[in-house]
Amino acid sequence: MHPSGRDDVGATSLLLIALSGILAGCAARHAAPDARRLEELAGQASLIFRGTVVKAAASSVRAVPAGPDTAVVRVDEVLRGEETLGGLIAQQVTVRLRVPASVSPRQHAAFFANPEVFGENLAVREVDHLAAAETGADLGKSVDEAGRRQADQALRQRLAQAQAVVVGVVSSARPLAEELRPPRSEHDPDWWRAELKVEAVVKGQLLAGEVAVHFAHSRDVVWFRSPKLRERQRGVFLLQRSEAAGLPPGSYALLDPLDLQPLEERPRIERLLRTIR
């Protein structure tokens, strides 16, 4: 018993503050992941995994010196980046922490990261991590959804840039130049011209009929991922005006892998276009 009533009031206040803090902490730990935060992290991370901290201030990669900003983490579940992390379940990776000394041994967390060093083991640089209690059981589903939204955003941007989007079939494809001409470099695109028979206009002012579109026929490392067209090929074509060297001014060209979509993507494309208009 304190001789002063004021002290009693003070002690009670402190107790209430402490209790409210604990309750708030409990509430935070049991809250579903903040969707916006998750989206932000997922948007910056090519690797997302649940892991258990094995050792703080440690490294399993010789090229990454151990320090307060590193930790060795066992991979428990891969949520994104199966190609990179797929063989590493139950294996250890080194995480370079955004905030030094922000993890402790045996801590479970979801790590949002990007590769930094491939050595005798993998080292990643985290965008951030979320404590296990912050992520909820549906983190995998949330990450998948975030990935779909990212993919949608990439296609949405390409759709927004396109002057026209059409459903059609390639009626012919041939080299743009009549004769074999020497390329300017080994990365020359080797422009070809295709005639598209337009079956439906999804975006733009094109009339039904035929439209010419150019594409890089080259298999060079600079171009091998860009769309290649062949006769009788059907699809959804995102026609982009291009001023690329070697093309007639104002030409349509398919340059990005996203510029050619399979027919079954038409509903998704129409849905995304509605969000642009």
Partner: protein
Amino acid sequence: MRHPRYPEARLALTLAVLGLLSRTASGQIQLVNMVPRAASGESVQDAEPSLTVNPANPLQIAASAFTWDNPHGSPMIGANAPIYTSTDGGQTWNLVLNVPSAVGAALPTGDIMLHFSGTASGTTSLLYAGILGALPPGGNLPVQVLRTTDYRLARPMSVIDTRTTTAGVDQPHLGAATVRGGTDAGKDRLYVGFNKLDTSRTATVDYSLDAAAPAPPRLRFDLHVIETRDTLGQDGYANVPAVHPDGTVYVLFYGLRSHGELAGTATTDVVVVRDDNWGSGSTPFAALIDASDGHAGRRVVTGRTVVLVGGWLGQQRLGASNLALAVDPRNSRTVYIAWADQPTGTFTQTLHVRRSTDGGANWSSDLKTVPDAVNSSLAINSRGQVAFLYQQLVGAPPEDRWETRLTRTTDAGGATWDDPGVLLANTPASSPEKQYDPYLGDYALVVASGQTFFGVFSANNYPDRANFHASVVYQRYVDWTTHQLFKDAAGTIPVAPSIDPFFFKVTEAGGAPGAPQENR
């Protein structure tokens, strides 16, 4: 690391390492697949490698290739592309992500080449890179010159120069040296040969006389067009510099003069230019005048045919890229070149090697010719011994194979070669199927540091010891008995063969050049 399913693989690896150590100790060959263990799942075409050795510490080596930041390749998943790094003389390698690229880019970089300087930076030296920067398709990829203070760190290199034109630029090749004496002692001279495609004379050098300077105005690059003659509209793709520490700078290029008789070919000169004072004068790269026409730039040969498009050796494209140049570190007047040209009426190519002992004024006849070959590279060590690296297609599909060979001179005059040289690799040429062009790369590289030759080439990684020099070591998970690559240590996830970069090191015995031992 445990290999629970493969005790025989563990034994083979141990024996290989022991064999490697004994060979290295006695001055022999080392061959290492450079893909790190943590990237064992990759099955991408890691073509067109380059390599550089820290002149202050030959244990520190950096290398590059068309390698993405993830095992599945295109597109990039992060903002930085990798280089290969070693700190133990090439025995082990890491992939360190430190080359600026772009998330979602189809390619990690365009062409990339690396060069250490002699300027100390902490416990290493400055590293320069010349790249074609990754841009969205349709853009003109710029030539960028990069610099890092520590090649071992996953910290993006700094862009210290950018060159672009609306008509494009192409294929940066690097040469560098650090000034040893005089008022400029310690300054890095950096030379980037590239094709600047907005004119008809496109062979160009972009160079800095103080590339280690922190920022402009001290850090400055100058452009100089080294082609002095009319062309068919451009020069060949490669413009290859070589720099001697006494200030002599050579650049080798194809001067394309007219279209060839066969479509997709050109008639070309092979031209060498030289500067005797770092390119610092008012008329740079004009020290070699061709007496026959009075122009700067000695034409070593004229009227040769070179393939620009449509020529193939197996799955490997041909092109005006196969040039090599090396200057003797003991005497800047001694210089070797190699080029490729097309025998009349064919669509293949032959490599040629020639030498000048008077600074490029006069040239020997062919010291070597290698038919059906690509990716020539030359280096001269501190004893004046010359090494010539190439990849030759032998046999007919589907049994055709790429033989990667290193031949070296055996006499003090540098004209006798240990043919057929060291067979570093003898790998299938019809598989794996090409993912993009170039299949092996438009270049491979050998360099010298002291008496030792270091090099890199790309080849099919199918794990069969019969395909490689006996010293071969893989870092990635492999079962040599079943000839299978794996993604994981337990050997449960198989990985298909692909094109990988291979590092080699040839440690020469001391003394004057003698007959190098055949190692296979």
